[in-house]
């Protein structure tokens, strides 16, 4: 079969950035198509990161990244609680373990001021240990960054995608772009499995593959070198050990290994930073895990007494450039949004706003859509808010919200059913996990794995 589709704007890549752009553009009277090669939105780099809501205090002043992280922080801080994206404002402590590291503090504070972060302050060792009593010995002091926080890396792209879909976005998952050609009288033709899509404008939000798509269009601005970050997630029973995000003093090469709570009530240790060749090399390594455990043992020895719940690795879309690679080629109507590294989650809404403005300046007609924007309320999967099983009103209305299926994470039968039938439904176990937390806990499926597999099968059959 050969399907012929038409759209005003085609966005390639439904990671957190592509989804944010789709949501932003769907607020206007435009036909928007969001294409994702993988089985789900937010299932690549967007799902495997440190999930911090950055203020941008440590960005390089004057860069686009610095500006967009600061603006994105503002936008997401307002949006997240409104639509039910879990957020926790824990604050961060950037700890110096040597005198050399402590000597970096003035420069860090200076850069933060240049980035508009004026509420940072230094904390002496004594106060530091009062506030983080389980830190290992030898800390010299810290910089407190009160605004830093945690944000759910799963719900964020899902919320954007859901809002976009409710506003009329044509979301196509498992739809890789096989080739793209520029049309003579403007616009683009994208070859998809089983069809073609003609688009007036093209947005490249293909993350790790953004350089490849960029080259297909004859540009040669950057090359993505995947930088792998391995992370270890510790058991929820370790959560009382950590109150803030515990950051390291960055070096030229890396921001270092951090320890942070997660919005799901776990403790995270990581990431490593290692350039790899393959864009699908998301495997963990013995060396990486050993390194993280030794760092964890140094920063917070008691953490290692707890069980490990999960190990994962994500690939940052690093390039040879120090800044985001965002450019709009006005005459052809092409926006490239590449090189979005670990700060992409925090900056996502600002990146989308920036791209929309740039496309508008380049001639895209932006008429606000008539009528009210969709009311969006994502199911809460964070520990800070009430979960379904904690809500008498929900259980009274529907007993399935009282039937806990995943014991470790307390995901209920009702939530699992909803996730399989939502506007952007889960299509696999990983999708179910990111929507409900089912199967992401300490038993990793010992108790609920078979039940979830059966429910996914039943969905496929129906």
């Amino acid at each position: 079969m050969s399907e012929r589709l038409e759209t005003d704007v085609a966005i390639v890549g439904a990671g957190v950035v592509g989804c944010a752009i789709a949501r932003e553009l769907c607020r206007f009277d435009l036909r928007v198509t969001l294409l994702e090669a993988g089985p789900d939105v937010g299932a690549g780099t967007s799902k495997a990161n440190t999930a911090l809501l950055h203020t941008g205090f440590d960005a390089k002043p004057g860069t686009l990244e610095a500006r967009l992280v600061a603006r994105g922080y503002e936008l997401l801080s307002e949006y997240a609680p409104r639509v039910g994206i879990p957020v926790e404002r824990t604050g961060a402590l950037l700890v110096a373990w040597t005198e050399e590291q402590a000597a970096e503090f003035p420069a860090i504070l200076e850069a933060a001021r240049a980035n508009g972060c004026i509420d940072l302050r230094t904390v002496a060792a004594e106060e530091l240990y009062q506030r983080e009593p389980h830190l290992g010995p030898g800390a010299q002091g810290a910089i407190e960054v009160p605004g830093e926080g945690l944000v759910c890396p799963f719900t964020t792209p899902l919320a954007y995608a859901t809002e976009a879909v409710l506003s009329g976005c044509d979301l196509r998952r498992s739809t890789p772009v096989e080739s793209v050609a520029r049309l003579e009288d403007g616009g683009f033709r994208l070859t998809l499995p089983g069809g073609e899509l003609t688009a007036g404008r093209l947005v490249n939000a293909a993350g790790l593959h953004s350089d490849e798509l960029d080259r297909m269009l004859g540009h040669d601005g950057f090359t993505v070198t995947p930088r792998r970050g391995e992370l270890i997630v510790f058991d929820k029973l370790a959560r009382p050990l950590v109150r803030h995000i515990v950051l390291a003093v960055p070096t030229k090469i890396t921001k270092g290994v951090l320890i942070a709570p997660t919005v799901f009530g776990n403790v995270m240790l990581g990431p490593t930073a290692e350039d790899v060749e393959r864009k699908d090399d998301t495997g963990s390594t013995r060396a990486g895990l050993d390194y993280l455990m030794s760092e964890g043992g140094r920063i917070m020895p008691e953490l290692l007494e707890h069980e490990v719940t999960a190990v994962y690795a994500g690939l940052r879309a690093a390039t040879e450039h120090a800044d985001y690679q965002v450019s709009v080629h006005a005459p052809e109507g092409y926006a490239c949004v590449g090189g979005i590294r670990s700060t992409g989650l925090s900056a996502s809404m600002a990146i989308a706003e920036h791209v929309r403005e740039q496309l508008g300046e380049a001639g895209l007609r932006l008429e606000p859509k008539a009528g009210q924007p969709p009311e969006l309320r994502m199911p809460n999967i964070g520990e800070a808010g009430l979960r379904a099983h904690q809500r008498d009103d929900l259980i009274e209305r529907d007993a399935e919200y009282g039937r806990i299926v995943c014991f470790c994470e307390r995901a209920t039968s009702g939530e699992i059913r909803d996730a399989l039938a939502s506007d952007v439904p889960a299509v696999d176990l990983d999708g179910l996990r990111r929507r409900t937390r089912a199967h992401m806990g300490r038993c990793q499926g010992f108790f609920c794995g078979a039940e979830l597999a059966a429910r996914l099968d039943a969905r496929e059959a129906s």
Partner: protein
């Protein structure tokens, strides 16, 4: 009077049955699964029930039998209900399809069991493909959901449960390409091993660990490392079953503020299976991972007897002396002697070692004073040895910790 039993596996159901037999009123078993019975529900081999019910059952039949006995005896079994809150000193918060409720019982018996450590907790690196599971998931897929598993499976572990996984794979039509253990020998009954070798022709690779898992989206290959030579090799398979390496499912115990034993990772209990929290008892495989189901059931029965005594007015002991093991001994259970010492379940302590030993000499001492010194039959990693318990009466309640050590490998 209300006694709430937390967990409806063999230990919990046996406890409920015994409580009713001792005429305790208001016995409620809270079970989070939709059916009672615990792990035997999905362990479809024979050999359950020998020590407690004195006749052999298959796992599912054993689970059904216990649920029936407990119900008939008048215990209320509430399935699909989970304890979602229990603070130190606070009541139990239950959540189920009928809503949320709070109860403050006169006594609690924790029998929440144990689980196998999954691949992530064992820090096995590599990709995260489908087809990696524990025996628990494998057996539920095959026996409870009738779903296919892969075609070629590697079994990690060589304990009883590993052989149970082997049988399950056979029932599912999958070939077990091998079993690995990091130890120098398997740790099950020689009979099981010989039978498995004959029936399934599965090689056993000793002193071997899984050092990486590869494949996408499903497992394609596993890297094995020989611990003696350091050499690695690849084994093709589409399924990896991580068996054993049990850890008590102790979340509730920690939530409730119970003192935990660092060696077993279960709540610290005295010989009467009293925890550090008055009116809270613990039994079964929550105390240590893991004993066979019938041993867990006997432990539940023991806790029920002492709980019934407590409800009749027996005082809660004030002094608790911990029992500590010296390496290579790993743990002992029960692991506390209280000022009101009584015999432990089955009349003896369970002792675990990290090393093999035949006819080893064991010494039990407190503050330099020997309480017991003698030989036991043997020590086998991952299996419990029985240590006589008569010395518990000689423990000085106000003294230092009791130390158990291996004096001589025999």
């Amino acid at each position: 009077m209300t006694v709430v039993v937390l967990g409806g596996g063999p230990a919990g159901l046996a406890a409920a049955l015994e409580l009713r037999r001792l005429a305790t009123r208001g016995v409620v078993v809270v079970e989070r699964e939709s059916d009672p019975g615990g792990i035997p529900r999905h362990a479809q081999h024979q050999g359950f029930g020998i020590r407690d019910l004195h006749r052999p059952f298959s796992g599912p039949a054993y689970a059904r039998r216990y649920a029936q006995l407990a119900s008939e005896a008048g215990a209320e079994i509430r399935t699909g209900t989970m304890v979602t809150g229990w603070s130190p000193g606070g009541p139990l918060e239950l959540t189920g399809p009928g809503g949320r409720e709070t109860i403050d019982p006169d006594a609690v018996i924790l029998t929440t069991g144990c689980r196998e450590r999954p691949r992530s907790a064992r820090l096995v690196p590599g990709s995260r493909p489908e087809g990696v599971m524990t025996t628990g998931t494998l057996q539920q897929l095959v026996y409870l959901k009738g779903r296919p598993v892969g075609e070629r499976a590697l079994i990690v572990g060589a304990e009883h449960v590993s052989f149970s996984a082997l049988v399950t794979l056979g029932h599912a039509g999958a070939k077990a390409v091998g079993m690995t253990t990091e130890l120098r020998a398997h740790q099950t009954l020689a009979l099981f091993r010989a039978g498995a070798a004959l029936r399934w022709r599965t090689p056993l690779w000793t002193s071997t660990v899984v050092s990486a898992i590869h494949g996408r989206p499903r497992v394609e290959e596993v890297e094995l490392t020989d611990l003696e030579t350091g050499t690695t090799r690849a084994v093709e398979c589409d399924t990896v079953v991580f068996t054993a390496d049990w850890i008590p499912d102790h979340e509730l115990a920690v939530m409730g503020g119970l003192d935990m034993d660092p060696a077993t990772r279960g709540p610290a209990v005295d010989t009467a299976l009293r925890t550090s929290r008055e009116s809270a008892f613990a039994a079964g495989n929550l105390l240590q991972g893991a004993e066979p189901a019938d041993v867990a059931a006997l432990s539940g029965r023991h806790a029920a007897a002492t709980a019934a005594e407590y409800l009749r007015g027996s005082a809660w002991p004030e002094q608790r002396v911990p029992i500590e093991c010296e390496a290579p001994l790993q743990w002992i259970s029960p692991n506390v002697v209280s000022s009101r010492a009584s015999a432990p379940p089955r009349g003896c302590f369970a002792l675990r070692s990290n090393e093999f030993a035949s006819g080893p000499r064991i010494e039990v001492a407190q503050d330099g004073r020997t309480l017991w010194d003698g030989r036991i039959r043997r020590l086998l990693p991952r299996r419990s040895a029985r240590l006589p318990a008569g010395w518990a009466a000689k423990v000085e309640p106000a003294g230092g910790p009791v130390r158990v050590r291996l004096v001589h490998h025999g």
